[in-house]
Symmetry: C2
Subunit: 339 residues, 2 copies
């Protein structure tokens, strides 16, 4: 019998908690054996949700956590004070080896801080990056880092490139993933001080398949599998992606509604459009992993619904089965001369 | 009689040179009196293009410039060596007061370098920012800086905010333009070192209407009129805007072509879609001004067609009529304690 993968899920975090979180967990265990989901949160509330479904009871447990960290709370303070919050309790399960991974749709700041201070980093990892998948014409790319590590150093970016490559190769199954650094031109001599210093380090790194600089324009075209940047730039890319997509879709819809002809045409194209835009949506791959921690932490969108939660749980299973952390340990360990 | 505004146009730069550049100039002088366009480039080639049109002859002259700077050439070297290139000759016209402005669709790098080293900065301006207009749900916003000033300092960003406000108020007619700084959260305590240092300076600057930080997600929604950032981030925003828009439109079109129903619907929505996307296109406002120079330099897209060229010429007229540079001089001069 294969080993159970134990995934703790923050039942209290996100816009659709606890309903969609619990449903996502139920769907995951219904789809696959070999997963144990630990729903972390207020027991009575979770029980009430669980009562709506039929599912293999032995695959879901509840871990009591009476407190909830709100999105607006200052993260460091919240993590320190709310010891009985679902995020702190869930992270502690990972730290103590009672869970392999933790999935949360709650406060990004608290998840990032908690990952570092509670779960802790793998020895040798300087900073754990948050690495969401973003949709492209060709599939998805890993955008690393979008977390809280602003003002990163070149050596951090090299570690991001390595961890991102391991993730894309082993979790997404991309052979020899192409790594590129976000730059304002494709040439090596362009860029700000950070990029100029990092470029040769990436170029000379034997563990990755570095293809050079990538201009932001090429990212949606799928120009690389692992897109390396420091967190401020990554955050801008991630959020602008969402902003431009949603604005453009709403503008197109409004345009169609402006005439009878457009309205009829709009009704006809609706199914195709919906299908297409679904393909241009990275949430079907799961949430954003916080890499380089002694255990896996996955941050889903605050607006995550059951499907994204289910996919995130399945992503944790692949992460564990592929022994990503062992690979990160080996890889970061063997090239410590760059640190 | 009102004073003539003299606009030099690089007839040799861009993907559609000289044809679309010459056509854009002809259209501009046909639409408005009071403009003199100086077409800079190879006389014979320009004459051949001009021969295709009927237009007020006294409003267009040719200034010979036999050399052309290619997009791939290293900018500093190109500006230094090709003294007879259309960019160098055009910039010199502005420097010597023979033209009020220079419009080019040629090499961005050469335009940025030439603006600084040939035309020169207004006294007190530390760095001249390149400030394109980007489309939003509500109209357009000025994204300042997208130029070559990587690794900017806080005082530079404050000057960008001032110059951008003057431009939006006087050229675009936006009363009391809202200024925001690109950040990874709306709160003052968030951000990288540059943003944290710049935030209080903007907050305490009496000459602008500062509304705080803006997350990249809110930019396409038209969250502010003047979007301040350093050039690396600005470049990423500008290019990602183009990349995500073009990818999404191509994905939507492909989706429609996938079924007969979609194809028919696609034909019906086509006019509405075209109209809508035209509204979501900032080129109708002209090119990107390089602000803070003793004279105006406008960089249009390399792919600019006649309409963008015409709009850029008209933009130069407004710039001159509204005496933007006098306003910049006064404004930057009066608050030099921040420098």
């Amino acid at each position: 019998m294969e080993e159970m993968v134990r995934v703790a899920v923050d039942a209290m975090g996100g816009d659709h908690a606890p309903g969609e979180l619990v449903k996502g967990a139920v769907d995951a265990v219904t789809m696959r054996k070999g997963i144990l989901v630990l729903l972390v949160g207020q027991t009575a509330v979770i029980q009430e949700e669980l009562a709506k479904y039929t599912y293999p009871k032995e695959q879901i447990s509840i871990v009591e956590a009476p407190e909830v960290i709100e999105t607006a709370e200052p993260p460091v303070m919240a993590i320190r004070r709310k010891k009985k919050s679902s995020i702190v309790v869930g992270m502690n399960l990972v730290k103590q080896g009672e869970a392999d991974a933790f999935v949360s749709a709650g406060s990004s700041g608290a998840v990032l801080v908690g990952g570092q201070v509670i779960v802790g980093r793998i020895r040798g990892v300087e900073r754990p990056p948050l690495a969401p998948l973003i949709p492209t014409e060709k599939g998805v790319s890993l955008l690393i880092d979008c977390g809280a590590n602003v003002d990163a150093r070149p050596t951090h970016l090299v570690q991001f490139a390595k961890m991102g490559s391991i993730y894309m190769e082993n979790v997404l199954g991309v052979k020899k993933p192409k790594v590129a650094i976000v730059n304002i031109g494709a040439e090596e001599e362009k860029g700000n001080a950070l990029v100029k210093e990092t470029f040769p380090l990436l170029k000379n790194c034997p563990d990755i398949h570095f293809v050079g600089g990538i201009e932001a324009r090429e990212i949606p075209h799928g120009g690389a599998d692992v897109i390396v940047c420091e967190a401020f730039v990554g955050n801008v890319i991630l959020k602008l992606y969402e902003g431009v997509s949603s604005t453009l879709i709403s503008v197109v819809k409004q345009g169609m509604m402006g005439s009878v002809r457009g309205k009829i045409g709009g009704l006809l194209v609706k199914p195709a459009l919906k299908q297409t835009l679904k393909g241009f949506d990275a949430t079907e791959y799961g949430g954003a992993p916080l890499l380089g921690l002694s255990g896996l932490v996955v941050k889903t969108h605050g607006s995550a619904k059951a499907q994204e939660v289910t996919n995130s749980i399945l992503q944790c299973v692949t992460f564990k089965e592929q022994q990503i952390n062992d690979k990160i340990k080996q890889n970061i360990g063997t090239s410590s001369e760059e640190e």
